[in-house]
């Protein structure tokens, strides 16, 4: 056993109960406007700039940001910290894409709609397999992280913490759909931002930069090296992983459809600017661990360990609240977006084309429940570290970047390129993942996919009519 419990279980339970009640209450309150499937899935397509920016930030600040960013810094030093912060570039680049998506598909629902209409049935089905695998992996990693972190912070048993965080998100997402998700995201993003700033300054008060530098130079010199090979490799791998996640996933597409006309471009740009410093602050905390004399038994626990060591019980409460908020803000978004994808792309398109909006809303709610139950079953046995679970999906999402961007901007892009890009990119990327390591898998998957897409665009150029996307069929 490692000594990493900072709060008494009863205080942990009090915090968890209070936060759970707050999210469920707010979710139900904000979700009362959800009447039809369009309300449930896209919040009436009328989200403004403030809520839009906040939901993008909150969704992208996952427990992986607050936990993995410090882990990256501890493993790969300054480069690792910068590598993680490059994930904000995905938000910046998705800003113009979201405007394009909204313009091309004013009545669209999901990223699956785009793949089906743009590349046809085969590419769409491959896309569904890849994106559902990624979404479920992300969902599982979030729920596992919830159980592990709440256990480490307060001694609440892994099974209980994981169950509560999942159940809370399932309840308010089922009840209020995207209205509830975006509303709670707004509060959660405020809590996360204030918490990270306060914690960062508190750590700086405890230890001087010179001390941190001297400690790193003496004990972990490679973390300051500009020439750190694994970290150099990881920079673009991580960047491409982030781009792949955002460009393809319905979490981001559903928001592009839900934002009011003209909001998407600004909202995603603002979100990128707000998000950028968060992993740097979180990573800095990890680099201070040696100077503060905090032993780290497991790299994914370095953030909470340092913060609780510096701030004591108040710090432990702060990190508990931040972690719970960041977990909820990501799990609810994933549940909603994945349930909508399954409802629209599988239930409606493959099974019941004539389903009414009311029926579709009910199906989306049932799918949300089923996703929650499935995730819970997978998470019960604790398997793998946070990074390992998440990065397994890296090559898959990397292989979808080029089919998506060329599908949005190139008339000549075609289904052969998209299909071969997604299939070969994923396969080769996964082989590299197991043969070399996660830090090159996304890069290789993206490169292979890019070559396929460009090759078929040059050899067999299509002449796609954008009108097909606008008409929806």
């Amino acid at each position: 056993m490692n000594d990493v419990v900072f709060l008494s279980p009863w205080l942990g339970w009090v915090l968890m109960t209070g936060l759970s009640g707050l999210w469920i209450g707010l979710g139900i309150y904000w979700g009362r406007k959800s009447k039809s499937f369009e309300d449930h899935a896209l919040a009436g397509r009328n989200i403004g700039l403030a809520l839009g920016s906040a939901t993008a930030v909150a969704t992208w600040v996952t427990s992986n940001t607050t936990m993995l960013a410090p882990q990256f810094a501890l493993q790969m030093g300054i480069w690792g910290m910068l590598a993680y912060s490059t994930a904000s570039i995905g938000l910046f680049l998705f800003a113009p894409m979201s405007a394009r998506i909204r313009a091309l598909m004013p009545d669209g629902y999901t990223s699956g709609d785009f793949m089906r209409l743009r590349y046809g049935q085969t590419a769409w089905k491959i896309f569904l397999v890849l994106t559902l695998f990624y979404s479920l992996t992300w969902l599982v990693s979030m729920a596992m992280a919830g159980g592990i972190l709440l256990n480490a912070l307060s001694g609440i048993r892994y099974e209980y913490g994981m169950t509560v965080i999942l159940a809370v998100c399932v309840i308010y997402t089922m009840r209020g759909g995207l209205y509830a998700v975006i509303g709670t995201d707004f509060i959660q993003s405020l809590i996360i931002l204030i918490g990270v700033v306060v914690v960062g300054f508190a750590v700086l008060q405890q230890v001087e930069m010179e001390t941190i530098y001297a400690n790193l130079t003496a004990e972990k010199p490679a973390l300051l090296d500009v020439m750190f090979p694994a970290a150099i490799i990881a920079v673009f791998n991580n960047l491409l992983f982030g781009l792949g996640e955002i460009f393809h996933n319905n979490v981001w597409w559903s928001r592009a459809f839900a934002f009011r006309q003209g909001v998407g471009r600004k909202a995603y740009t603002i979100a990128g600017l707000i998000w950028l410093p968060i992993p740097i602050a979180a990573g800095f905390v990890a680099l201070a661990s040696g100077a503060l004399g905090v032993p780290v038994p497991s790299p994914d626990m370095v953030g909470p360990l340092v913060i609780a060591s510096v701030l004591g019980e108040i710090g432990a409460v702060a990190i508990f609240v931040i972690v719970f908020s960041s977990l909820a803000s990501s799990i609810d978004s994933l549940l909603a977006a994945t349930a909508d994808l399954i409802t629209e792309d599988i239930y409606r398109r493959m099974w019941r084309p004539g389903a009414t909006p009311g029926q579709l809303k009910k199906v989306a709610q049932m799918v949300t429940l089923a996703l929650g139950l499935g995730t819970w079953l997978v998470c019960l046995p604790r398997i793998g570290t946070l990074a390992t679970v998440l990065f397994f999906a890296g090559p898959l999402v990397g292989s979808m970047i080029w089919p998506i961007i060329t599908g949005l901007y190139w008339k000549r892009a075609n289904s052969q390129g998209a299909i071969s890009g997604m299939v070969l990119g994923s396969i080769v990327g996964l082989v590299v993942y197991f043969q070399i390591g996660w830090y090159v898998a996304s890069l290789v998957g993206t490169v292979v996919s890019m070559v396929c897409v460009i090759f078929f665009t040059v050899i067999q150029p299509a002449n796609y009519s954008w009108q097909t996307l606008r008409q929806g069929e």
């Binding site: 490692n2 113009p96 894409m97 300051l224 694994a230 150099i232 961007i405 901007y409 190139w410």
Partner: protein, 143 residues
């Protein structure tokens, strides 16, 4: 059963218990990881079997531990180490009674820098291509 027999049996039982306690006390702490591990990233997680009391983890740059450095003391059963440059590092655990674990060797050999920069350049090229497609597409989207 005579009193003498009972005394002998009690004495034998005491000897057995004391011996078993002594056996437990002198059992050396042990790493769970293999005796030699390699890393091409400069980081590794060392794990060891739980002890009855705290352990001390020592690091040295030679097999003889001529100048050991204590890098952890306490009841944890693992430690994550990172930021190591190329070379061999030696670790051992010391229990409170002074017994030592068999040593563990960590061999760090980072990826070749040439290979790393090549992959960096490849990533930069792919990223530049993505940015170009989006920005160029934005400029020409109304055509």
């Amino acid at each position: 059963m005579t009193r003498k027999t009972i005394r002998v049996l009690l004495l034998a039982a005491v000897v057995v218990v004391v011996n078993s306690w002594a056996g437990a006390a002198i059992a050396a702490p042990r790493f769970i990881t293999e005796a030699t591990i390699t890393s091409n990233t400069g980081y590794a997680q060392l794990t060891w079997e739980p002890e009855n009391g705290p352990v001390e983890l020592q690091q040295a740059l030679d097999q003889e531990f001529s100048n050991p450095q204590t890098i952890y003391q306490g009841n944890n059963t693992s430690l994550f180490i990172s930021g190591l440059r190329n070379g061999a590092y030696f670790y051992r655990l010391q229990a409170t009674d002074g017994t030592l674990s068999p040593p563990l060797t960590l061999e760090v050999q980072h990826y070749p820098l040439g290979q790393a920069w090549m992959l960096f350049a490849l990533g930069a090229g792919v990223f530049a291509g993505i940015v170009f497609v989006i920005l160029n597409g934005e400029q020409h989207q109304h055509e």
